[in-house]
């Protein structure tokens, strides 16, 4: 097969020995677009919303109601909502961009040969890994802030009995496993969707890719939701663990 499938995204250029991949470059354009877009939206907010503002308000309002129902408390929901919704919206927007046709045909000549200019942003594991680490680190910080550092360490290094010590170590392994599972779920779904699309287009480009593209569209919506809901659940569990009486 003469497909150019590579796990690591292709490098476009280097910034003082840091390679910039095509997905990373695309992600700059995405977040510049999102930041500038939201800045202009903020400036043009009206009390009687136009259609675009209406759509955005429905989306954010619905998401906030959901987050509030999962956190239970409006103040906490307000604190955790920006992180969770931004992650959801960024991943969702990046995934939707992969459905613009004709992207993989645009190639650019670099030092390493001819590489495609565009690539699904979430199919770059480094981007997914960074987002996952942000999630997990925020969860640990919330746990430390709500339980105090000694109780937090006592959760993992529990010397009351050998069984508890073993369970504490398993908790530590579980935290590391969260990083792996969260990142691989998102990365694997999107990357596999890209590979599947490429293979189907290679085999029979006319109607065969269609059901796989639909599956890819479903994945593009569900996976960001799962990622941000899991982040939300981890953060809310990190808070709840200090209040066992509030069952």
């Amino acid at each position: 097969m003469n497909l150019d499938i590579s796990l690591a995204p292709e490098t476009l250029f280097h910034i003082t020995s840091i390679p910039v991949s095509n997905a990373f470059f695309w992600s700059w354009l995405v977040f510049i677009f999102l930041i500038v877009g939201s800045f202009f939206l903020r400036r043009s907010l009206k009390m009687r919303p136009g259609r675009f503002q209406n759509i955005i308000e429905m989306m954010i309002g619905g998401a906030f109601d959901f987050v509030e129902s999962m956190m239970g408390d409006k103040k906490r929901a307000l604190r955790v909502f920006p992180l969770v919704f931004t992650m959801f919206f960024f991943i969702f927007f990046c995934n939707l961009l992969t459905f613009i046709p004709g992207q993989s045909a645009v190639t650019i000549e670099t030092a390493g040969g001819v590489v495609p200019l565009f690539r699904a942003i979430i199919s770059d594991y480094s981007i997914v890994f960074v987002m996952t680490m942000v999630s997990v680190i925020v969860t640990q910080i919330v746990a430390i802030a709500s339980m105090g550092p000694l109780r937090y360490l006592g959760k993992f290094f529990n010397f009351t009995s050998p069984l508890n010590f073993f369970l504490g170590l398993m908790d530590l392994v579980g935290e590391l496993a969260k990083v792996m599972s969260l990142s691989f779920r998102l990365f694997g779904n999107i990357f596999a969707g890209e590979v599947l699309g490429a293979v189907m287009l290679f085999l029979f480009p006319f109607f065969l890719p269609l059901p796989f593209a639909f599956l890819g569209l479903l994945t593009a919506v569900v996976q960001p939701f799962v990622f941000s809901v899991l982040t939300l659940v981890f953060i809310s569990m990190a808070i709840q663990s200090e209040e066992p009486e509030m069952a």
């Binding site: 796990l7 599972s181 691989f184 779920r185 996976q223």
Partner: protein
């Protein structure tokens, strides 16, 4: 056995065995969700999205197997 053949066999086994578990799990999740909808058709709007979320999480281990297979093949 040369490297290419070993890669193909490894990827095939990884994905083949990895596809069994999630399929069973998602079937169970879907059947329970449909049963719940059958008992209470008005709760459809609440059950269906949660079913999709549960399926996405159940599918995770299958995706891990897929990532391992792709790593074996392409890296």
């Amino acid at each position: 056995m040369d490297m290419e053949a070993a890669k193909y066999i490894g990827a095939g086994i990884a994905m083949g065995l990895g596809a069994i578990g999630p399929a069973i799990g998602e079937g169970i999740a879907a059947s329970k969700a449909l049963e719940a909808i059958g008992r209470n058709p008005e709760a459809n709007g609440k059950i269906a999205p949660l079913m999709f979320v549960a399926m996405a999480i159940t599918e995770s281990t299958g995706i891990y197997a897929l990532v391992v297979a792709l790593i074996i093949l392409f890296a």
